[in-house]
């Protein structure tokens, strides 16, 4: 019996001795204590984005953005992925993210929650962005000529992209309201929320939903990449244009990174051109030719719609 005890004791002792080997360098306690200090001292610009597209794409794009910004600004830049739209807004409010690529709705939500936040820039395509309503070809839905035609969607299985998406929820819902379609009019008494535009397209194409609403930009790139099959999924209506995505920065960046930092960051983003190979790749992944100045007043119409739909209170 004593052998067993000794064996157990030896085993436990051995594993205890080996445990520190698993840990990264530095004892557990000192580093626990120094961590917070270190975070205050090092100046890291944390950038983020609403997860509107597949994580693979985001994970390819934003590290490139971080590199480019880091090169131009001379500070360390890291990309912090978030899992949903609301989390991005929360992370911005709680100071976990310094510069975020928001949609109109989430951008307005974030600015309301963080007074003084600065709108930095938008893409050339964001001044007049559009949403498309798409349908599975077996649903019997046909292209419509004006907004009233959306009433055809009553009783269909319908999905939005995300709860807080501007192009995949807010504006489509606004136009559905104009056509007299309530969310409870869809089959099952509620619309779906697939989480991202890509997934919404894939699910409408598969037939899991008969129709959906997504960003025109993602729809166009799905078609050109051959991911969307026109024999299975078609566009039935395109909304009028509205302002969308923009970069939003924390109000205190100048205090943390030095005077004029926010302005330098803005100049840097606006300077990206397709003639520079690195910047060309970033711009291509953003689906844009270049970034242009944006101002907060342009988004007041979105704020109104947001209040009407109940996504801004």
């Amino acid at each position: 019996m004593t052998f067993r005890i000794r064996a157990t004791a030896a085993l436990v002792g051995l594993s205890l001795a080996l445990l520190p080997a698993l840990a990264p360098a530095g004892g557990p306690l000192p580093s626990l204590l120094s961590e917070a200090k270190a975070q205050q001292n090092t100046k890291v610009l944390r950038i983020g984005a609403i997860p509107d597209q597949k994580p693979e794409l985001l994970n390819r794009l934003y590290p490139l953005v971080a590199n480019e910004l880091s090169r131009q600004l001379g500070v360390k830049v890291t990309y912090v992925p978030v899992v949903n739209y609301a989390a991005a807004v929360t992370a911005f409010r709680t100071g976990g993210l310094d510069l975020v690529w928001f949609g109109s709705l989430t951008g307005v939500q974030a600015r309301l929650q963080k007074p003084g936040a600065q709108v930095i820039a938008q893409r050339d395509i964001d001044a007049s962005f559009q949403s498309v309503f798409i349908a599975n070809t077996s649903s019997g839905l046909r292209p419509i000529s004006n907004v009233k035609g959306l009433s055809e969607l009553k009783g269909k299985r319908f999905t939005f992209a995300s709860e807080s998406s501007t192009s995949g929820r807010l504006m489509p819902q606004y136009y559905l309201n104009q056509a007299g379609v309530k969310l409870s009019d869809f089959a099952g008494g509620a619309p779906g929320f697939t989480g991202s535009h890509d997934t919404a397209i894939a699910l409408v194409q598969s037939g899991a939903y008969q129709a959906g609403a997504v960003s025109e930009e993602v729809w166009r790139s799905s078609l050109s990449e051959g991911k969307a099959n026109r024999a299975k999924v078609i566009q039935i209506w395109k909304t009028p244009g509205y302002p969308n995505y923009h970069w939003l920065a924390q109000p205190d960046l100048d205090k943390r990174f030095g005077k004029g930092f926010t302005a330098r960051m803005k100049t840097a983003i606006l300077s990206w051109r397709p003639t520079n190979p690195r910047q060309k790749e970033v711009l291509a992944l953003f689906g844009a030719q270049r970034f242009i100045p944006a101002n907060a007043a342009a988004y007041s119409s979105i704020e109104q719609v947001g209040r009407q739909i109940g996504k801004i209170r």
Binding site: T2, A87, A91, R93, T94, N136, A187, G189, P191
Partner: protein, 515 residues
């Protein structure tokens, strides 16, 4: 004369819900996404083995396990302390009055009534995205749950020993520790092990809603319909879950079962030494995990100010409360009937064949494994959103939990009646039903009552996806940052679960008393 159903039939009664369900389902199914379901199923056999995927899944799993272990360890310690502090016996011995115990017990009902997911989402708003949030989200409700079980266990122990020691002149603390400590140990060990299994499930679930770890990986791969990558994560999680269950089961048997037929008598104090060793090993392990996760205890105290509370109470009142509450209750009831009734029914159907039992166990393990929102997302591919879809997802998950329990307790039950029935010529199914199942029926139903209460708490998780009940509104309000609505929803949820807990307690007490 009064007609009463025999216990084994009572066990099968909830399965009657299958009949209306069979009528409803054809109307609800649209079959649009069968192709995707097919892809999902076939991907089970060909999970992605690419190094990149394996690495990210392994890293995610490590985070999830660390969250679970840390949350569990802290909640167990806190729960033990709080449990002792809310025990009537302890207070009566120490001060002569049980009043403080009742007060603490009432207070602890509040953190307990709110699901860890809601805690997680609320804490996320307060503290920002950091690993400590997930750990704390597990600790708060778990500590309160453990405290309740510990105090119930303590108060159920006979007090004669304490009184004898006190009469002999021992001081109250020493008398309590000596008389109640050893008697409490088996209960603490077996319940503590069970909580670790729960913590793993909770940590995964929290990840699905964005708090990091394997759950987040699962959600993202599911969302981008990358089924091969999804299965890599699911299989790995299954392996961890099953080995954890087996390991805990082994420890439980080793430490709690009396040694029968043993040729060698274990030396005195062996078990105690082993337990102390395991406990000692847990401490550095927790510290290391905390460090690896990047949990910063001091970060727990830097709270972000919440945006001002809008006081738009008329609009809060105008929310469709009856529909929301009704949806939640219907969802829970349907899921509970499905889970409670199906477990014995499936066991009976599989009884005659050994070959059927293994797949049955696998299905139950998958049920425990899959976070219900993922199941709900899959079901939405072929069913319309609503109560039934949500209930199927929640029911499937709990079927896994209840099924395993039923199988284990049936295996432990005395086989005498079943063998007698079989020898007398009744078929294997009838012998099982009136033999073993009849023995375990009452404890099973009592546990089922407890589980229904858990399901009410968990209904928030699927209703986020199933577009029904309070949970769906919760997510809408959260993404609109409508704090007044959120507050009202959480309060209503807490009230519902408190009433549910009370009902399930009464029903359980009646079942166990009349047995």
């Amino acid at each position: 004369m009064q007609l009463r159903a025999a216990p084994p039939l009572l066990v099968l009664l909830p399965a009657l819900v299958l009949l209306p369900l069979a009528l409803l389902l054809p109307g609800l199914s649209h079959g649009g996404g069968w192709e995707l379901i097919g892809q999902f199923a076939s991907a089970a056999l060909t999970p992605s083995l690419e190094p990149v995927v394996l690495r990210s899944v392994a890293a995610g799993l490590l985070v999830t396990v660390a969250m679970a272990l840390l949350g569990w360890a802290v909640s167990l310690v806190l729960g033990l302390l709080l449990g002792v502090a809310s025990s009537r016996t302890v207070w009566t011995s120490l001060t002569g009055s049980a009043l403080p115990a009742t007060g603490i017990r009432r207070l602890l009902a509040v953190p307990r009534s709110i699901h860890e997911l809601i805690w997680g989402l609320l804490l996320l708003q307060l503290m920002g995205l950091q690993p400590a949030v997930a750990v704390l989200a597990i600790v708060i409700p778990y500590a309160a749950l453990v405290a309740r079980v510990i105090s119930d266990l303590l108060d159920a122990l006979p007090t004669t020993n304490v009184e004898a020691l006190r009469a002999g002149g021992a001081p109250a603390p020493a008398a309590l520790l000596t008389a109640l400590g050893p008697a409490l140990l088996p209960g603490v060990l077996s319940y503590g092990g069970y909580r670790l299994e729960c913590a793993l499930r909770s940590a995964t679930l929290l990840g699905v809603f964005g708090l990091g770890g394997l759950g987040t990986e699962l959600k993202l791969t599911m969302q981008s319909l990358a089924f091969h990558e999804l299965w890599t994560g699911l299989w790995l999680l299954l392996a961890v879950m099953l080995s954890l269950e087996a390991g805990l089961g082994g420890l439980r048997r080793r430490w709690l079962m009396p040694v029968r037929f043993g040729l060698q008598q274990p030396s005195v104090g062996l078990r105690a030494r082993e337990m102390v060793l395991v406990l000692l090993a847990l401490l550095p392990l927790s510290l290391l995990l905390g460090q690896a996760l990047g949990v910063q205890p001091q970060a727990l105290f830097t709270w972000q100010p919440l945006p001002p509370l809008q006081n738009d109470w008329p609009s809060v009142l105008a929310m469709p409360w009856p529909a929301l509450v009704g949806g939640t209750l219907a969802l829970t009831l349907l899921a509970a009937c499905l889970a409670v009734g199906l477990a014995p029914l499936l066991l009976l159907l599989a009884a005659p064949s050994r070959w059927l039992r293994a797949p049955l166990r696998l299905v139950w393990a998958l049920g425990r494994l899959w976070p219900p929102p993922l199941t709900a997302l899959l079901l939405l591919l072929v069913l319309q959103p609503g109560v039934v879809t949500g209930a199927l997802a929640l029911g499937f998950h709990n079927l896994g939990v209840l099924g395993r329990l039923l199988l284990e307790s049936a295996a432990d039950a005395s086989p005498a009646t079943e063998q007698a029935l079989a020898c007398a010529g009744s078929g294997p199914r009838l012998a099982l039903l009136y033999g073993r199942l009849s023995v375990v029926a009452r404890p099973y139903l009592a546990y089922a009552a407890y589980r229904s209460d858990v399901m009410l708490r968990e209904s928030v998780v699927v209703s986020l996806v199933g577009a029904t009940g309070l949970g769906s509104q919760l997510l809408e309000s959260l993404s609109a940052f409508a704090w007044d609505q959120l507050l009202a929803l959480v309060v209503v949820y807490a009230l519902l679960t408190l009433v549910g807990e009370d009902l399930s307690d009464r029903w359980r007490a009646r079942l166990l008393a009349s047995g």
